[in-house]
């Protein structure tokens, strides 16, 4: 296992956001995490990347305990977290945003290839490379955020709702690109999505969270055909 999260508990004051979640991800796998609003998906990713500290539970990554590490150290271990809501560096240019993605020495050495690759994945970014990121449209910012995450050349890429606010065609393209990256580099991925069909089409396995615990898990096809999932997340 590349990543093992065991019995994770988190609360924001009185609100219990995670109540004993356990997940595990094999190297090279892609898993999807789905669930309603407030189910705890974002919280889970923040815990893994070190932005939040759990009250209880353990995380091992690459056989190393990473609970309590600062996020920048977690990043250095090889985990990239593309946060919810884009969070591009608004007053930096598109190019500088990407450069920040390869700030770590491990990523820096391959910077020019990575850049080239990103521009081939997202030609729009090349076109706009000198524009301030804050003036990009919502969708353009989302592309930039994903590309910036990829620039880290992580072992594990975690994406929080990457399709949110994207035109359908871009969602499609984005997932094609992610599939391409996944296939080419066998990069391990965790995708959190509201767009369940799309996410499960990419992922090998999926977890359904509800109220801070895992309600259901299994491989993607099983989940797609699960009646409960169908009703709640696919709209039947």
């Amino acid at each position: 296992m590349l990543l093992t999260v065991n019995n994770m508990h988190v609360s924001y004051g009185a609100i219990k956001a995670l109540q004993g979640i356990s997940i595990s991800v094999k190297g090279g796998d892609c898993i999807a995490i789905v669930g309603g609003n407030g189910a705890g998906k974002t919280t889970l990713l923040k815990i893994i990347s070190g932005l939040l500290k759990p009250s209880e539970g353990s995380i091992t990554f690459n056989n190393k305990n990473i609970v309590g590490m600062e996020p920048y150290n977690v990043a250095a271990e090889g985990i990239a977290h593309v946060p919810e809501g884009r969070r591009v560096f608004s007053a930096l240019s598109v190019l500088d945003n990407l450069i920040m993605g390869s700030y770590l020495p491990s990523a820096k050495k391959d910077r020019s290839q990575s850049l080239e690759y990103m521009f081939s994945l997202f030609p729009k970014l090349e076109e706009r490379q000198h524009q301030l990121a804050g003036t990009l449209s919502g969708g353009e910012q989302q592309m930039l955020a994903v590309a910036r995450g990829l620039m880290l050349k992580p072992k594990l890429l975690m994406l929080d709702e990457p399709s949110s606010g994207l035109a359908p065609i871009i969602v499609e393209q984005m997932y094609e690109k992610l599939a391409e990256v996944h296939a080419q580099s066998s990069m391990t991925m965790i995708v959190v999505e509201q767009n369940v069909p799309v996410a499960l089409s990419l992922a090998d396995r999926g977890y359904v969270l509800e109220n801070g615990s895992v309600m259901l898990s299994g491989n993607s096809n099983d989940l797609l055909n699960n009646p409960g999932v169908k009703e709640a997340y696919l709209g039947f």
């Binding site: 600062e70 920048y72 946060p83 560096f89 500088d96 920040m100």
Partner: protein, 289 residues
């Protein structure tokens, strides 16, 4: 009276260069950490005292003391960040302002306790040298200070725009959490930024200590000019801070000559108010909507 104009411009530029360097330090701290440090003038004061005491005990040229005063001031700034500024990074600007006002009062009076209110000067030979070029007199010590200002500002500018760490500073300011996700140690970055801010301002203190005197409240007037300058240029905009410094220096010199000897600042401030009314986010802003 027109023949006096070149002299006015030169005098204005020379003092403006010093304002510029002090302002650049202030602008950096704002640009990276989003804190307007009202104790900034006191960094200048500390730099001047450091220089003065090294000079007193060793007799070396003040400019050589930069080797010591720069690291000392860097450390001062970094420690202040770690133990003080960091606690108010997320607070409202008001809270920050008043924390630094408290710091200003503290530093001034600690200096008063430690060094007394006496005015202290450093004697250097080149303070006595002037050049006369076509009727324009240039004091060498001021010229040296001016060049130090330009040199340090350029180095800083290159550092911020051309290096990863420089960009990481900007990124950390814009979104600390996300910067951390990129592997940027923002705590360290902020300490370095505050360190550089203090070091640069301390260096400005060293540069002017050859022709100015040191006393506990010496930072006040330079600090004031720095806030004006930095706002004029656009907060966090180094180029703006630099040009703003020169502009204010020249405006002040013209004010003394043509409005009245008590009106140099008055003119500089009025120009500041007019310019900022026209461009409310500073002369060099290219803000994000």
């Amino acid at each position: 009276m027109a023949e006096i104009v070149p002299q006015i411009i030169v005098s204005g530029l020379l003092i403006g260069g010093v304002y510029a360097l002090v302002s650049v330090g202030l602008s950096l701290l704002f640009g990276v950490v989003d804190i307007v440090n009202f104790a900034h003038g006191e960094f200048l004061m500390l730099g001047m005292y450091t220089t003065y005491w090294i000079w007193v005990f060793s007799g070396v040229d003040p400019l050589i003391t930069l080797i010591i005063s720069i690291p000392v001031m860097f450390l001062t700034g970094a420690l202040l960040m770690k133990y003080l500024f960091k606690r108010v990074i997320d607070a409202s600007p008001l809270t920050q302002i008043f924390l630094t006002v408290g710091l200003q009062i503290l530093l001034q009076n600690v200096a008063l306790m430690a060094f007394s209110a006496n005015y202290r000067t450093i004697q250097v030979v080149y303070n006595e040298i002037v050049w006369n070029i076509g009727g324009v007199t240039i004091q060498i010590s001021r010229l040296i200070a001016f060049f130090i200002a330009i040199l340090l500002s350029i180095i800083l500018w290159l550092f911020l725009t051309r290096t990863d760490m420089g960009k990481a500073m900007k990124a950390s300011q814009l979104d600390r959490e996300t910067a951390k996700l990129m592997g940027i140690n923002t705590d360290k970055i902020f300490m370095i930024a505050a360190g550089i801010s203090a070091a640069i301002t301390g260096a400005a203190g060293t540069a002017i200590s050859t022709f100015f005197y040191v006393f506990p409240t010496v930072g006040v007037s330079f600090g004031l000019m720095a806030y004006i300058t930095v706002i004029l240029g656009g907060l966090g905009n180094l180029k703006g801070a630099f040009v703003g410094g020169l502009l204010i220096g020249v405006a002040e010199a013209f004010g003394v000559q043509y409005v009245g000897a008590d009106s140099g600042l008055l003119l500089a401030f009025i120009i500041f108010i007019v310019l900022l009314t026209i461009k409310p986010q500073g002369l060099f802003s290219k803000g994000v909507a």
